[in-house]
Chain length 399, copies 2
Amino acid sequence: MSYFSYLQCSKCGKEYSKDEPHNLCECGGPLLVRYDLHSIKENVDKNLFKTREKGLFRFKELLPIEDEKNIVSLGEGDTPILKADSLGEKIGAENLYIKDEGLNPTGTFKSRGAAVGVSKAKELGIKTIAMPTAGNAGGAWSAYSAKAGIELIVAMPKDAPDLAKKEAFIYGSRTYLVKGLISDAGKIIAKGVKKYGWFDAATLKEPYRIEGKKTMGLELAEYFNWEFPDAILYPTGGGVGIIGIWKAFKELKELGWIKDKIPKLIAVQAEGCNPIVKAFNENSEASEFYTGANTIAGGIRVPKALGDFIVLDAVRQSKGTAIEVKDSEIIESLNLLAKTEGLFVAPEGATLVAAADKLIKNGFLKSTDKIVLLNTGCGLKYANLVEEELQVLEIDADI
Amino acid sequence: MSYFSYLQCSKCGKEYSKDEPHNLCECGGPLLVRYDLHSIKENVDKNLFKTREKGLFRFKELLPIEDEKNIVSLGEGDTPILKADSLGEKIGAENLYIKDEGLNPTGTFKSRGAAVGVSKAKELGIKTIAMPTAGNAGGAWSAYSAKAGIELIVAMPKDAPDLAKKEAFIYGSRTYLVKGLISDAGKIIAKGVKKYGWFDAATLKEPYRIEGKKTMGLELAEYFNWEFPDAILYPTGGGVGIIGIWKAFKELKELGWIKDKIPKLIAVQAEGCNPIVKAFNENSEASEFYTGANTIAGGIRVPKALGDFIVLDAVRQSKGTAIEVKDSEIIESLNLLAKTEGLFVAPEGATLVAAADKLIKNGFLKSTDKIVLLNTGCGLKYANLVEEELQVLEIDADI
């Protein structure tokens, strides 16, 4: 089923065997999954995927799980791709689409990474996983670990969304709140990993989460009849989604399954935490730690991403860009999206509306471009951002 | 595409034309959609549905939308059906499945009814819809109405879940909170409907919501290779889901598409609001208004359902039963489901775990029966039911 071949360092190219647990390369670089694409090309028909039961595991040849019985699934993937004509009209985009990752289990795209990551952990016989999280990944990994019967230890910022805390708790993870940022939570987890030998599943420290995120790219390519759209906007914190989508593009290109168009990958950040945007504008290969990170979009409040150099490389190679938006624009976008398209999205996803608007106005994107906004989560997790004012009626009132 | 033929009263059998808006029959009975099943049998292959793009509208021949351009979709339907072996082991059910409706847009099965209801309203040229809601239907109809550009007026109990209020508000519905139950909200809406000529979309007062819910039954039949499972447990408030699933069963049977097994339909209610259970036990044709309704499962806090007689008939005809569970059992079930299956569900859905446990223990269900728990919503909307206790760490802490 899987054509998983070996692991390879994204920095120095060193190869690792696929048969035991690995984290980072000796050189500190994140490891990537490599497939025997040559054999896939010979043996697999790309039209096969559509005939299988829905969900991201229908792309099993391009995923690292080798024995189907290890798959831990809650129904993730194959999220809707919706044409957004009303919103498109407001911002002057004639071919605007929203891929709504909020319909994944636990309400965010994090389920994709967790489904593949936890399945592979199960396959490798891992008993305890530990990870820092901004909130949503912790919820997702908690759900899949519960289903898999794997113990999960999670540390998240004390000011993570309430719902993320409740999720980790109800799924039975051992959960800690840290008086700091996700980077601080990461340091505490790293110490625990060293002390107790837990498997470290921090972003990019395990190689399989990317493969789950990659399926967003596979689904997009398939949906648009094996041609990528002109531009994909993505709210960028750790940036694994961009890395995954770019990996999908490169694998599909090598397989000869897609037409030649390169999708512009656009990293969107918040003004209050924009290390990737800064690095992009300064032509740097990597980002610098962003001090004083502050935005309502907690999922992209990542001061320094481990894979920043891969994200920047993907954005540049794809002829994309990096752009920031203000928190006030996020709130406006959140409201606009709900009222025009009937979508109540996460603030991270809402950033994309403001960003697309700017990029059309400044000419970076054409009004006729096929543009995909990749909304990463559902708004239900961010209810505090909605301040409703509703009229209260007596039982016998008239309206 | 649609084989919609006419509307027919569920009480007196009177027929109505499909070409203009209708609410209840003159006799007060809810109207049901009738199809030209004979022509479907002749012209449609049941294996066709699987080849179409996912979502409930792939069953278009058995839905009332006549022109595809009127479809208002946010990606609803085709929710996961998950084998629940860990939970099954706990309660002694070897073939236990959970259909997780929480992965619909707006987080509940209400999206199915809203997708079909709002699409049909658009097709009929309706400009303003009004409805009472316990909360979740208001959220769903608000989202679809926003997408359709239809005005929605919603009234819900003042103590409806916060998230339902925020949803109605952010989607731009005109939203009222009523100091009473859904039945009180219904009276206020009914007065407004009379005064302003809005289209009344209260449960069963418009005929199309059932058709959306029906697709749960179609999906189940298709999933189990065109054979219904032995039992379907359903949290019953208004009961439209049971009515819809039973309608699916009867239509599929008439089409000759399914094997003979009749699925036992099991209506599950809360001890604090159990009018259907009472009526079932007393062998009554209809339920009595339940005074003092009180349960944490707000979606099934319906003191008197308009379609109670159809629900009771379906439960009896299917050789099912009606059963109540305590609020404390709901909370236990919620936790059990999260920890064993990685599913954080709505309290309405959690009732089913306790109910299945009782019905296996008392012998009504066999341990080998193929049992489906139809979870109607995601737990994210009921975060207040989770009281997390988490350890807070300083930045430099060790764990």
